[in-house]
Symmetry: C2
Subunit: 446 residues, 2 copies
């Protein structure tokens, strides 16, 4: 399926109309999250690199024209004004891994109006869901307080693409590994895995299953101990690990029941067998809330494996993102729809002291001791500089989160950070609003 036809039909019909009217001057669109979900104190930007790849490859060929014509029930000739369109505009974006707040542009696209419009659907999709996943993953890392967190979400994400993005979002946020082989290979991440309950059941006795696994995989092993009855499973695992001689790097996994109690029991049994080096991995419906509860209870858990709830960002499965026209042909624009008012004009976000952010006009000078968050990533359709590597993105994320105030990092009931608006942006917003009311609305309007 071609990515150029991965678009809402209205992008095509609008672009055709723009071309017909000769409206091909530069337009600027801001992509931002209106308000954070109540369960989030901050967001982590992600998806930008996929957007850059998409835009720099974008080209409408005759096969796309044919598809557009077919769904519009029009002759292909009517669609020919679109033929050969490439993305020849500029993009500024918040680098992936950086913290962003509600109302701040994550990405700003400036391109000929029809072009900037045509790419909307894909750009919104990628930044929205990848930012949602990275923000969720970051909270798991915070909750784990230094314990490794690993991604086990492949089986329950919304498709395979989403699984790969969940693995990447986890890596950005600081996860130590993923179970997803394809993602591990593509992204250069460590791959991890243990065994399923089915493995034990296929053998029948746990002892036989554990021994066969160790035979097939010399070196550290992780043994799943809760298939029949956890206490006995841990004892059987401990005996097997003792018999192997070196248990360094090996672990047992708990996947059901009261994980705090089971972890304490398992730790006692392992220690009693002289295996203090054997680690305890927990899994099964975990998210940042469950991790936080285990950490606060002092449960002797070494590694947290998160899956479904994190891979679908279950408590906030979408972000209220928008891709809004803020300027056309140098004229700042906005809409006044109830609850959806947008601020006009190309923008910049200036950050100082951690996350004291000011949303300002792009042309404004940076306030003292601040630095701009939006950086040029595409110029005239070409990528600026190489894609940053994942380690670099992760380092940025860790540094940004470390600088956040405690109330935004809190797992339960976080207080969302808010940016402020520069006086010049506020003044422009008022001026454009007054202009719209005076020019386009009847005098009786409020």
């Amino acid at each position: 399926m071609s990515r150029e036809t991965t678009t809402d039909l209205y992008e095509v019909t609008m672009a055709l109309s723009y071309l017909r009217e000769g409206m091909t001057q530069p337009a600027t669109f801001d992509l931002f999250v209106r308000d954070l979900p109540p369960e989030r104190g901050f967001l982590v930007a992600a998806g930008v690199e996929h957007v850059v790849d998409y835009l720099t490859d974008y080209r409408l060929g005759s096969e796309h024209i044919q598809d557009f014509a077919s769904v519009l029930h029009r002759p292909p000739e009517d669609l020919e004004p679109l033929l050969g369109i490439t993305f020849d505009g500029d993009v500024r974006a918040v680098p992936e891994g950086r913290v962003v707040l509600g109302g701040e542009p994550v990405l700003e696209v400036t391109a000929p109006l029809p072009v900037a419009q045509l790419v909307e659907s894909y750009v919104l999709n990628q930044v929205s869901h990848q930012t949602a996943l990275a923000s969720k993953a970051a909270r798991c890392v915070l909750a784990a307080e230094g314990h490794p967190v690993v991604d086990f979400s492949l089986r329950r994400t919304h498709g395979i693409e989403a699984a790969d993005h969940a693995a990447r979002a986890g890596a950005i946020a600081g996860f130590s590994a993923t179970s997803n082989v394809a993602a591990a290979v593509e992204l250069g991440l460590p791959a991890v895995g243990t065994m399923a309950h089915s493995y034990i059941e296929a053998f029948g006795p746990e002892e036989a299953a554990f021994r066969a696994f160790a035979d097939a995989h010399p070196g550290p092993v992780t043994l799943l101990v809760d298939t029949y009855q956890t206490e006995q499973g841990v004892r059987t695992a401990a005996q097997l690990l003792r018999s192997l001689g070196n248990a360094t790097g090996s672990a047992i996994r708990l996947d059901s029941g009261n994980l705090e109690e089971e972890a304490r029991l398992a730790r006692r049994i392992l220690d009693a067998h002289g295996l203090p080096e054997v680690r305890i991995v927990v899994s099964g419906g975990l998210d940042e809330y469950a991790i936080d509860a285990l950490v606060r209870a002092g449960a002797p858990v070494d590694i947290y494996a998160v899956g479904t709830r994190v891979g679908v960002s279950a408590d906030a499965p979408y972000l209220d993102t928008a891709y809004k026209l803020v300027a056309y042909d140098t004229r700042p624009v906005m809409k006044l729809s109830t609850g959806k008012v947008t601020a006009p004009g190309p923008k910049q976000v200036f950050r100082r002291n951690g996350c004291e952010d000011v949303v300002a006009l792009a042309e404004e000078a940076a306030p003292a001791r601040s630095s701009p968050l939006l950086r040029p990533v595409v110029r005239e359709g070409a990528r600026i500089g190489p894609a940053p590597d994942l380690q670099h993105i992760r380092d940025r994320c860790v540094a940004d989160i470390a600088a956040l105030p405690g109330e935004a990092r809190r797992i339960t009931d976080p207080t969302p950070l808010h940016s402020s608006t520069s006086p010049r942006l506020r003044a422009l917003t008022d001026r454009v609003r007054r202009h719209i009311r005076a020019t386009y609305l009847p005098r009786t309007s409020p």
Copy 2:
């Protein structure tokens, strides 16, 4: 990215151990949803056709062996037992579009143990999320009570694959169209679209924007009326539609504010302009709850466009699915993990009188007036018969939902339907449980 490496690492390590032990007898795995989310009274099976395509194409080549070796940090020779593996087993599945309940197998895979294990992650992923999306979409169709529902979710789904699956899930459930061009082309669905607020803003005055759109797109148009102020927007649209002569098939779209009030206002204005044929489309954060409220209030809405909340199944973004070994080498197996006990043995679901379902052993005779839900779809690695077309799947879905009792179809607080278990399956479950306790557990266990 290759689909063969889209797997959890543990599938690979388990398969290697099975091959080393010569454990290649047939294994049967059941894929089922443990319990329905509280917001669901029934589910609609989906994703089966993608699974069939995947399994019938599955082949582990040297490039996959190389990837497995690299993430395991082992020499490729160690992975060679996997080389050339294809899916050579059988699959029975609930046909897509059919209603399924908690605890009922949606799909049953029987294949040599390593093979049935290797395909787990992909199979679970596809059936889980597509069934979640189709079930959500079906509730929107129920809520709309005959009004068309269309899919606008592309911009907010968890990736592009998820968007295509959301469009397909909507079509299965009875949506009338999608905004997603690529999905419309691929699936042969009607594509629909209107215009964005940015379109109006680029022109400035609404009148100019509406006229330009009608000029570029002869025939019916849908005009977005809430960019600045809805009442005036509707009046401007009404004047434009009057001036076009024939307004049949045309519509206005409301995307913000109190949609019930705005729809009543818009209807009055359109009717006052002699435009009773112009329809009202509403969008903006809609789901089955919002549609239900509008329908119950008697709001004069003609078409419901659903996006984000439906495309991510926001109130139930995942299903509690499992892919569980139920038999190996003709021996029925189960696990006893707390809260995760599974029923052993290959199964069949017998349905009568709508959804009075009995989960039974596959070998049992069908109860009177019942028919089996699981049908063979793959035999010895080959697809059985052609893929059903989307219209056929949709017809099945509509018929199944029509036969559901009202309490399961209810939008708010639905009562989930439960299947019963045949006496023979109950007896087998008890026998296997006793056998496990007697054989694998110490006498002191409960």
